[in-house]
Amino acid sequence: MTRFWTRDFLIALGLCVLLLAAPLVTRNESVFFLLSLIVIWSIFALAFDFCFGRGGILSFGHAAFFALGAYGYTWATMDLGLGFGAGLAMAILCGAVFAVIVGLVGQRVTGLYFALLTLMLAQLLAIIMVTRLRRFTGGDDGIAGVPRPMFGGIDFFETVNFFWLIAAILLAVVVTMHVLNRSPLGQAIAGLKQNEERARQIGFNTARLRLAVLSISGAYSGLAGALLGALLMYVSPQLLSWKVSGDVLIMALLGGTGTLAGPILGVTLFELLKEVLSSYTEYWYGILGITFILCTIFLPKGVVSLLLGRDKSR
């Protein structure tokens, strides 16, 4: 805690730099596409882990924040005709606002029950968005033609350029999160996770702290959702599926929670594994499952523990 340049932070930065440097090695578009997915899901996994690994709040419904971010961006850019920056702002707002709503609704509920509540709220939102709000969500069909950014005369339809942009955003996310974790608020959140009762007793308004955790996590999730919408140029309520919430949980835990490098590593491993396995075997799904089981048993602190050693907080 004393040093600013913790090993975890350095590794996370290193991963970002590695990603940013990828275009120097290859010019292959499909590689960038894969890397773009890794970048976006890394932001999402970091957002999820801010909630779970930092704030100690388990959620099975993070897909809702992610999807609302994607839709917020879509509405801002397609319906309101706003630019990329305003679109991202809208996405962040949508994610954060819904997270606050979830937090307010679930004020009296904690632990596993809160996790189940988030799952059910996300399901409820999914059903309403598919069946009752077709006009705004495109129903099962979703909305195609979500724009990518346009500024500085750069063609962001070139996957490389878009990749550079989102990799820079990932870098910004990593840095801001690190700063946030070391800030008074970050310390208060750490206190909330380690001992909520005591945090309340020494004078923290833990209810409000939980809302802060959720809204920050929701905001980052919304940002990630918007970037995915822009990458695919498509959004649909399938983003709300509980599988999305499950995926991000798996990725974050696989990599190692409560760290910055862990979620990024988890996402990278997950996506690369999927990519490599599915090109070699039809049964990649099952092999992925076995890999998870083995990792959970033998690397309970995540892949990142291999790099951080036993003393992971330093």
Binding site: L112, I290, P300
Partner: protein, 285 residues
């Protein structure tokens, strides 16, 4: 009348699954996401057993036993090594088990769905008070009721039930009393898997046997165990009927609103009585 029979049969099927899920939660404090996959595997195995032996009744005996054994293996290989870790990791590992079971089913049975018929006298419909209802659904209700009674008696009256209760309420104390808690956990998980297999075999003639059947019913089971209270078997019984009947009644009058209604109810329960509608004990862990 048809509504009642349909509602009860849905409720019974969900109960068979939710009972295992809630028992496992009570004992292991783990939400077993693989429960739906076990149920699906049970249905496919039932198909194969029915094809091989030609007997519907044999499937109802053999399949639960097979799943029971599989449950023992799964518990021993995946959950036991990480008992002491955070429960989230145990949930995560059940996700992994889902992927593996899905793959196994795809490997052995392929992508196409299957079906098999129940014993001949269960085919078709019978007339009850002037309405025609499916014989098989009546059978499901009867069998479900028998299993339900047996479970209740087993848990609340028998020695085994007491042991299980002791272990789930206070494992350390139980261990101090000489109960082998690890073994009890394993047995409970296996029993839950066996029940899931039984549910799969029962569902075979009534619902299409296909790869995604487990996912579809799992959310219903979550609904039931949340409304009934996690770990509460009596609550699960009542909640299964509430869900089953509300499905049936809902479809009769407003099919489009059934899902919205169900999830709203769930959210309300989680907010107002997170320990479940039918649990007395205050629990907000």
């Amino acid at each position: 009348m048809a509504i009642i029979v349909v509602g009860l049969s849905i409720g019974m099927l969900i109960f068979l699954l939710a009972a295992g899920l809630t028992l496992i939660f009570g004992m292991l404090q783990v939400i077993n996401f693989a429960h739906g996959a076990l149920y699906m595997l049970g249905a496919y195995l039932a198909y194969s057993v029915a094809m091989l032996t030609g007997s519907f009744w044999l499937t109802l005996v053999i399949v639960p036993l097979m799943l029971l054994v599989l449950g023992l293996v799964i518990e021993r290989v995946t959950l036991r090594p990480i008992y002491d870790a955070d429960h989230v990791y145990q949930v995560l590992i059940t996700f992994g088990v889902v992927l593996v079971i899905d793959e196994v089913v795809r490997f052995f049975w392929g992508l196409s769905g299957r079906q098999f018929s129940p014993a001949a006298f269960l085919v078709g419909s019978i007339d009850i008070f002037g309405t025609e209802v499916s014989r098989y659904r009546v059978f499901v209700i009867v069998v479900g009721a028998i299993v339900m009674t047996a479970l209740l008696l087993g848990i609340e009256k028998s020695r085994i039930g007491l042991t299980v209760k002791a272990c789930s309420v206070n494992p350390d104390m139980a261990a101090a009393l000489g109960i082998r808690v690890e073994r009890v956990r394993m047995m409970v998980f296996a029993a839950g898997a066996g029940l899931a297999g039984f549910a799969g075999a029962i569902a075979g003639p009534m619902l299409p046997i296909q790869l995604q059947m487990g996912n579809a019913i799992l959310l219903d089971c979550f609904t039931v165990i949340i409304i009934g209270g996690l770990g509460n078997i009596r609550g699960a019984i009542v909640a299964a009927f509430v869900v089953g009947m509300s499905r049936a009644v809902g479809q009769q009058w407003a099919a489009e609103w059934v899902d919205v209604f169900t999830y709203s109810l769930l959210v309300l329960v989680l907010l107002l009585k997170p320990e479940g509608l039918f649990s007395k004990k205050e629990r907000t862990a």
